[in-house]
Point group: C2
Chain length 335, copies 2
DNA sequence: ACTCATTACGTTAGCGCTTACATAATTGTC
DNA sequence: GACAATTATGTAAGCGCTAACGTAATGAGT
């Protein structure tokens, strides 16, 4: 799914979706087994069943919702005959919620369904279900203890001053060349032997034959890399472009590409090509914007099994820039 | 939180709550950093930003929502000037969604915020965040492959025929005596040395001194246990009552309690007491219904550090049964 | 070419929850 | 004991989503 590629950025959406699936599953089970209750009723009813009559606020605190939600839910439950409200004799403000006979009996008959749900969830999800529960618990606690917004804003404050800078290869950064590329390779494809060779020994495989390697840094974090391979006299290959997923959108890829092209030109190359895969659409788009043109066939004698796209650098100075309509009034301002 | 005690039964509610927290956090971050977008907009906008113009259905499929949701969201985004709809020249049914200049620029300026979110989430949640992501991914896939409702209903079908039966101790069940008790002990308290002694060696610690142990079985699954300890001539202690969380609500606890009391009476005991903890409210409630009466003080010379409740069995045959009002017309029917 | 099923989409009603507000009861303070 | 602050609640409006429906365009089969 697309959302999973966003990882931390779309947690809310994914959790919501999963939540809905569980609600729907529970409703389907209750309906199929003639239980006569709805999934949304369950937390309130179960709480009242275990703990006896309770006030709206108590219930709300227990099940982690607002008093309004509980109050409205209580109305619905009362209408369904599961519950009745009465005034608390001790405190005139409170309205005590208590299950009716019908409500208690509905729940009392649900024991086997609950057992079936627990077992069924374990059947379907196995260890993952337990992992999910544990992670849920841990995240709930972590969020209670350390407000996440604070952490994010603190990080943002330091990131804001930092600028992406492009630096050439140096031995201290060697391992980043491997890890940055291994991550997306493992995610989308497999690491082929030639990848392993190049990534593990960049000096021998890239630099000594006359190529170049660049890194993108944000502050002191290495967030991306890119290699220019020397294929033949005047012929270079752009390869091993990788940007840490956490740092997409900072323009690091674009800058790395620019640095590689500049180096290619500085060395007076006449041909610059790259091989990629059609599933990597954002990357292909970026290559196109930088001046690469997709070729109708794949390259003869390609290094990689995964290559199904072949592009050659062919900047046309004359052709109008894409994405900027010529009749726009506002001049594109550099920020 | 109460919900976490329900584990698999309230997954929907907890996931929803966590989802809302992440949405709220994201909105707060976007607002605080003046990003000008809302958390709900993000998946659609990011998708269009990465992949270029797309139809409503494409977007909906990518972000896992209905076309209606995307259509309505697109209206809101268009109103905010982030996006515009246009007709697909190739297919008159489709309406292509494309970011406006403003939309693209809004996203282009968000790189550092996204990086900060990823880092901040990792700061706050640490390993748990990764676990959550992995568990999410795994559960999403598992649910796609094996529909959970089927598993649950299958389990329910077999459970429905099964009946809870109470059986006395036998050596084959020895380990259940430990595991059933260890689970709730570890969850709420710690396992004290005397617990370990009794649970590991039930024959020596319970049976040989003149006590008894019962198990509750549902089909071939052992779901609960309970011990009657012989304290002194005619004096018995009810202890080590434990029911598997997955099987609460089947009346196993009540049945076990009944079996223990019957055994106590069969042996002609005159005093039956128990020690418990005030935090175990459902259990205390069950003891009361069975005829135990809470004492004003804790027992002198208690075995357990966790005991702060002392109850003595004192059934009053004369007193009206609780929970069944005497003036009800309908006779309580056994099911 | 002419149906008929399918597909893509927009619209409406409704659900479940939240926020914001109003109100009544209780508590604390002098 | 009067009065302000707090607490517990109900109600209204709104948000984000879904389900259900209707409509227009497309594709398939003859």
């Amino acid at each position: 799914m697309y959302l999973s590629s966003l990882s931390e950025l779309a947690l809310g959406s994914r959790l919501k979706a999963l939540s809905d699936r569980f609600y729907a599953a529970a409703d389907e089970v209750y309906r199929a087994s003639g239980a006569g209750i709805e999934s949304r009723w369950f937390p309130v009813m179960r709480f009242l069943w275990e703990r006896g009559p309770a006030t709206v606020t108590d219930v709300a605190a227990a099940i982690g919702q607002t008093h309004s939600a509980v109050s409205q839910l209580a109305d619905r439950l009362a209408r369904a005959g599961m519950l009745k409200r009465r005034n608390d004799p001790a405190d005139g403000r409170c309205s005590l919620l208590a299950l009716t006979e019908k409500g208690s009996q509905s729940l009392a008959g649900l024991g086997k369904i609950w057992a079936a749900i627990r077992q069924g969830v374990q059947d379907s999800l196995g260890r993952e279900g337990e992992n999910l529960l544990q992670a849920l618990q841990a995240c709930e606690r972590a969020l209670d203890e350390q407000p996440i917004v604070g952490s994010i804003l603190a990080r943002h404050a330091t990131l804001k001053r930092a600028k992406v800078e492009i630096v050439p290869f140096e031995p201290l950064l060697r391992e980043h060349f491997y890890t940055l590329n291994a991550h997306w390779l493992k995610k989308h494809f497999v690491i082929e032997p030639i990848d392993e060779q190049v990534l593990r020994h960049p000096e021998q495989a890239v630099l000594e034959p006359g190529g170049a390697i660049f890194f993108a840094r944000l502050g002191d974090v290495v967030i991306g890399t890119c290699a220019l391979l020397h294929e033949a006299p005047g012929v270079y290959e752009l390869s091993k472009m990788g940007v840490d997923e956490s740092f997409r959108g900072l323009g690091a890829g674009h800058r790395l590409l620019g640095a590689a092209i500049a180096e290619f030109q500085r060395r007076g190359g006449h041909t610059l090509f790259l091989e990629s895969n059609s599933s990597l659409k954002p990357a292909l788009h970026m290559y196109e914007r930088a001046g690469f043109v997709r070729q109708p066939t794949i390259r003869a004698g390609s290094h990689y099994a995964r290559a199904d796209v072949y592009m050659i650098y062919a900047p046309k100075e004359s052709r109008p820039k894409k994405l900027v309509a010529p009749n726009r009034k506002r001049a594109p301002r550099k920020t």
